[in-house]
Symmetry: C2
Subunit: 250 residues, 2 copies
């Protein structure tokens, strides 16, 4: 199995967040946890935070938005990251995986808050729906990048949409295993492993980066099936050597 | 590219739907189209359909549900289809693809309605959110089936979730290309092609079903990369023959 790309998204430019905004989030979560989400009104939140209603709506369009205060920033960061020049990288999948890691980083910045929110979101269908909409926006940003990169390929759009969905599903698998463990498992390792699987499945890096001619990729197929990824120009003797070694006939 | 599985989901057991329910859907869509979704109330709908409010709520929990009247039935059909014995099929991916085709069939049963709803859903964010929740329920049903089938594999859950997301993304890619064309493109062919790509990427069937020894899978990799799927016990001369033919050196 190939290693996931060693590249990482750039360091968070330590976004400056106003204290009042943080105070509103803290007050909201205290009330959501103590009384329940549905039972808490915006008036309750502003009373506890000691500010006026207008201040709340300056920062958050609705009560739902205070539950997910950082997704808009993270979406903007993701779009900016994807818009950066990629130094002519042939395979856009590693960059899309790195873009997904920005979401993990946002969750990992504040682990207690993330675990608390995860528990809350499980209980409130409206928040689940909100979260699905956000996830879909991340997926569209990733798919858009891949679609642009694969625009001149037959089936490029299909491939872009399927790959973006796979990246999001893998990222969320890793993220959830961390959230469910109350932060016990290593979040980054869980997401790296999940994204590594997608990179192996959809990326072009395996055949190019790990072997100059042919690479035998195991682990994602049945015991009795061997998948060989080879450059078209590889000498046949080299390909046969790789296959024979995979078949255990060397 | 390998052919998608030839299996198809079983014939729709021609669900009997009460005429009043259909009348409510028809009235609702006439009003949504003429006045707009937000501007139409449940009272307007029942007045046009000539029934009482109670009749509306007997069939639909909310105004949103009348926009998607067949998803609950389709979800139930999907779960029933996935629960059927699979005659020991080694690869669960073709069945999951067939289960996704049940959704396409639901849309294709009533093409005008589906195209009309697609246009409406684009315009109303609340309906988009509702649709995302439904899509997620389909995805969970598919992932649950794959998770059970791959329960004893390392990484089985990850693989199940990524594959289910890929199946849903591919299905929706085909479905959308049909809906956007106002029914002009062949819906089934579009979805078959998209699911064929997922089957090639995630299924185990390519190496087993389409060639007794080795199959060269093209179309999902870069121009200069060839992917060979081969049974471990295949004679080397046969594998080399397949690769040479793919390399254009025959």
């Amino acid at each position: 199995m190939n290693e996931a790309s060693g590249r990482r998204a750039p360091a968070d430019p330590s976004a400056v967040r106003p204290p009042m905004r943080d105070a509103l989030v803290a007050a909201a979560f205290r009330l959501f946890t103590e009384r329940g989400y549905e039972e808490t009104t915006v008036d309750d939140i502003v009373a506890l935070a000691g500010v006026g209603r207008r201040s709340f709506f300056r920062y958050f369009p609705s009560k739902e938005d205070v539950v997910f205060p950082d997704h808009e920033r993270c979406l903007a960061d993701m779009r900016a990251f994807l818009a950066e020049p990629d130094d002519g990288a042939a395979d856009p999948v590693p960059r899309v995986c790195d873009a997904a890691r920005l979401v993990l980083r946002m969750y990992a910045e504040n682990p207690d808050f993330s675990v608390q929110r995860y528990r809350l979101t499980r209980k409130v269908p409206g928040l689940r729906a909100y979260e699905l909409s956000v996830v879909r926006r991340y997926e569209r940003a990733l798919a858009g990048h891949l679609r642009d990169r694969w625009a001149d390929r037959p089936g490029g759009t299909l491939r872009a949409e399927v790959t973006a969905a796979a990246v999001v599903a893998a990222h969320n698998n890793g993220l959830r295993s961390w959230l469910r463990s109350d932060g016990g498992v290593d979040a980054e390792a869980a997401v790296d492993q999940a994204l590594g699987y997608v990179q192996d499945t959809f990326g072009e890096t395996p055949g190019e980066a790990t072997a100059p001619t042919a690479a035998v990729v195991a682990g994602r197929t049945a015991q009795d099936v061997v998948v060989v990824v080879s450059r078209r120009g590889a000498p046949m003797w080299r390909v046969v050597q790789e296959i024979e070694s995979a078949f255990g006939r060397d």
